[in-house]
Symmetry: C2
Subunit: 376 residues, 2 copies
């Protein structure tokens, strides 16, 4: 699919206006936009502005309640449980991580679990919020059940990502990964390219390994059976039970501890019910935070400097690809495909935002020229 | 290799006497024995009495200091840092998890990090300690560097297991897994059987996938390069970077936060330097603990009852295999191979324990009869 580059500032201004028109306040719109944009800036396009259509449809259908405010339903000096009242996931996430950070600054540790939320973007955004304040940040979320437990054939688990971030030099440790072998987005990419997916990635309606991305995606949609494999694939020989176990830990930290819905009950009958987990830890409870940061920085250096496999020139530490992507996106703009531009235009029309003001005729089918490399 | 069955009580009594003869107190010997035996009872033989030889050699060489006592070097109401002073890992672990449990009962959460310890057995033992008291338990440890980061060819990471346990009916959720694709024990099994290991499990001295278990093991020993792969294998396509990321999180929680050694500096010049992590969380900070337990039990039931893949009759939840193994081992005894029996005899001779009193001539080479199925 054709892609265009759009300047970060233009996209930010557009998203901000769209969310304000949806009924969010100035501050709320800016938070939602910031979460979406960080994905695109970090090169995780699947969770950035590509998702605008889902938020648009979620708000339109009433699944996402624009005016809901997160409510603290239980609280201790080290913890809280939040009821999101089916509001916008990014706002609930931002509120909850701020609460975890506040508690970590007071007691050393803050853990917040959330029920009745919606899709909150990348887990890493919230881990980064803590890291930006010198703390260790963690976040996890459940989601629609599209992952099949080892030996099963029905999707019972979400892709259940867990993020972990911590200050280091020259850039923080930032690890954000689904506990599944890949996310649905990868299947969509292979499907568009009409290429078979690697054998361990997913299973068909009978639970057999299936390399046909389209079939897996259709089965997920129609709930015909099968789905995406946990990290480790289909069988125990490669550790499928370990990825499945990691997903279970995320299900516990999110749906179980918040007394909310586990992934197998998420997103049924236009009810999101997504649950999240947030933790912040002040490293100073373990020692001098500068010393701890230096210790981690040294270890990350040792790994990057360690001998490379034949044919490889670089060992990445987690967070490095995001730094490289940020430099690129700030200079060259973010990557947006034509389908997303069309969805942005639809969304703008729906809420009454002047799309042309931001992007001219870019993405408007009849005028679109793939050789036009103008940056908007 | 020939195996025999030994009654749990006999093995317990033997180990207890051995550790007392090494100079541990009655109570200390009983803790060490309990950690070892839980591995065997849970069917994780690689971490049970098979390891006796390593503790024997560790104590003999002075790497493990028998009379060292764990010291709290930093403490807050929710956390502590322990210096193990190179003592026996099981004792340091037991002490540290008890401290985490005490803090969790007082404040809701207790996190304890440990430096300067030694091999502590299975991580799951400590998670179970918290679970046995109605809490959520977590534990992780680093270890000798035998795992290669994605795109590297030098082992920089430990197998870095993380365990998580939580009360549920009819049995607790109990998940204990290395963040590597498999542990060294699996390579040893394939090597003994002279069978090639699956392609993603390990790499040779140049970082290429290597199915020759013996070669990988020799390279690990001589530090010639290569080693075991992270969960997800050798390449990003199957999520190698995710297993590597999980290992990094364990390295941070253990070696970094305790201001101790990361795995790449462990076990050098007869200095263990192993670091651990322990956490206990009281579920009552999130709601009624009985309700939370029921919620988890229901979810585990839903997964076990969900449709099975063609050819499979059962979906396990984590902890179920350990329950089945326990029933078997308590009835039929634990599984011990002849090599381990010989090592037990050596150890008994070294400390002056009468091996024959416990096991008769079992495992004593010249008299050993593989058709003798007597239980000792």
């Amino acid at each position: 699919m054709a892609h265009v580059k759009i300047r970060v500032d233009s996209m930010k201004a557009f998203c901000n206006e769209v969310f304000k028109k949806f009924g969010f306040t100035e501050e709320e719109s800016s938070i939602i936009t910031d979460v979406l944009m960080l994905s695109d800036i970090y090169g995780i396009e699947s969770h950035g502005v590509q998702r605008l259509v889902r938020y648009h449809k979620g708000i339109e259908s009433g699944m996402i309640k624009v005016h809901a405010k997160p409510e603290i339903v239980k609280e201790t000096p080290v913890s809280a449980v939040i009821d999101g009242h089916e509001g916008m996931g990014q706002l609930i996430g931002h509120f909850s991580m701020n609460l975890a950070i506040k508690k970590a600054k007071e007691t050393g540790i803050g853990i917040v679990t959330v029920r009745e939320s919606n899709h909150y973007g990348i887990a890493g955004y919230y881990a980064k919020m803590a890291c930006d304040q010198g703390l260790i940040g963690m976040s996890a979320t459940n989601s629609e059940a599209i992952v099949v437990p080892t030996f099963g054939k029905k999707a019972m688990l979400g892709t259940d990502p867990m993020a972990f971030s911590m200050p280091a030099e020259p850039y923080p440790f930032f690890f954000d990964a689904a506990t599944s072998i890949v996310t649905r987005g990868k299947f969509e990419m292979y499907n568009k390219a009409e290429e078979p997916v690697p054998r361990m990635w997913g299973t068909d309606e009978n639970g057999h390994p299936c390399t046909d991305a389209g079939r897996v995606l259709r089965n997920i949609k129609s709930k015909a059976g099968g789905g995406i494999s946990p990290l480790g694939g289909v069988d125990e020989v490669y550790g499928s039970h370990k990825g499945y176990g990691n997903a279970m830990v995320v299900e516990i930290l999110t749906g179980i501890l918040s007394n909310g819905l586990t992934s197998n009950h998420n997103l049924i009958n236009n009810h999101g019910g997504t649950c999240h987990f947030f933790a912040a830890i002040d490293p100073s409870i373990f020692g001098n935070p500068e010393m701890i940061k230096n210790h981690l920085s040294t270890f990350l250096d040792e790994i990057r400097e360690s001998p490379k496999r034949d044919g490889k020139t670089k060992i990445y530490t987690h967070g490095e690809k995001e730094v490289l992507a940020t430099a690129d996106r700030m200079k060259n703009g973010i990557d947006v495909d034509i389908k997303t531009l069309e969805e942005m235009k639809d969304c703008a029309d729906y809420v009454g935002v002047d799309y042309y003001k931001y992007f001219g005729y870019l993405g408007v089918k009849i005028f679109y020229n793939p050789d036009d490399h103008t940056q908007y």
